[in-house]
Amino acid sequence: MIQHVIHLVSVWAIPLLLVGIPLYGLLRGVKVYECFVEGAKEGFQVAVRVIPYLVAILVAVGMLRGAGAIDLLSGWLDPLLRAVGAPAEILPLAIMRPLSGSGSMGIVAELIKTHGPDSFIARLAATAYGSTETTFYVLAVYFGSVGIRKTRHAVLAGLSADIASLAASIVVCRLVFPA
């Protein structure tokens, strides 16, 4: 049932927006075609403006992954996580999540394969992945699009959200799923 509703929402949301907004525009006397083209014009510039910021972030993250830093960091933090009673298998994902979306998706897939799709670890990993975004990617793209170079407290605020999402994922999954 829930699955069905969710499916309907995700299939229909975009087509409904694409019909609904121009329809409302027409009813309000907006020249929808001309207006659309006028707005769409900016698409290219915005995308191009993002490139230097994205190159800067992705290169640094890519090099770090290439050097095997994620595994190393996991090794160091492992005892810390064990001390607070958290499953250490989740650690590489926690470190990768703010840095790379595709990289952390790969880790989740790996965990699902190793532990089984209905295991506690798989569900925890999927929850942890789904409950946050790729912080550094978002920062690069969003700030890059308007040429912001001094990001002030945005990085720390974003990482606070990441840590909170991980902690909440562990607590909530412990409550909901029998280990």
């Binding site: 707005g39 915005v46 992705l58 975004e133």
Partner: protein, 205 residues
């Protein structure tokens, strides 16, 4: 801050790569990523144009103002610097709504539109405003009602109940949003993160 983080990532990568004997991988990963960044950005052009076009229609039809008025009471608390009826409120709301529905194709263009609107209120253009940082904290927390990619990943691995993670994901991402917003609100007052004096007097103060 980003200066040190960025350089830190690179120097750690090179040093570690050298010690681990993986320096060639480091070089390759760096160069590959540079190419990937351009591919990602260019890949944005189409959807970006599509949604910016649609948003322009919504704006012209007065839909954005209507939306802004409807949800303003909630968002005004979180973004006190933004004037009533300002288009930034509506575009941020649309971005958050798209994120919640898991429409990532729509969410990024709408989010960038919101950044553009926020930038219009920014009196020191190269420096992030408080509103921008708070908005990004909400975005990096990624409030999502339907974690579609994870559900399909679990389903394709043969899970009996792939949607079991919906509830836990909503709970955890709600916690993340609260933590992000609270952190942004607290951190924006620290002198370290103040808008540099030469460029200050901004809309954010």
């Amino acid at each position: 801050m980003l200066n040190y983080i960025w350089f830190g990532l690179i120097i750690v990568a090179v040093l570690l790569g050298g010690i681990n004997g993986k320096i060639e991988e480091v070089t390759k990963a760096g160069l590959d990523s540079a190419g990937a960044a351009v591919t990602i950005a260019i890949g944005l052009v189409g959807v970006m144009a599509l949604w910016l076009g649609i948003v322009k229609i919504a704006d012209e039809a007065g839909l954005m103002k209507l939306l802004a008025r409807g949800i303003a009471p909630v968002l005004r608390r979180v973004f006190p610097e933004i004037p009533r009826d300002h288009p930034a409120i509506a575009s941020m709301m649309m971005n958050i709504a798209a994120n919640m529905l898991g429409l990532s194709n729509a969410a990024t263009p709408l989010g960038l539109k919101a950044m553009e609107d926020l930038q219009k209120l920014n009196r020191s253009p190269g420096v992030a405003t408080n509103s921008m940082c708070t908005f990004l904290a909400v975005n990096t927390a990624g409030l999502q009602l339907i974690p579609a990619s994870m559900i399909s990943l679990l389903a394709s691995a043969g899970s009996k109940e792939p949607t079991a993670i919906i509830g836990t994901t909503i709970a955890a991402s709600t916690a993340a949003v609260f933590a992000g917003v609270i952190a942004a609100k607290l951190l924006e007052r620290l002198p370290v993160f103040a808008v540099p004096p030469r460029e200050s007097g901004g809309a954010s103060s």
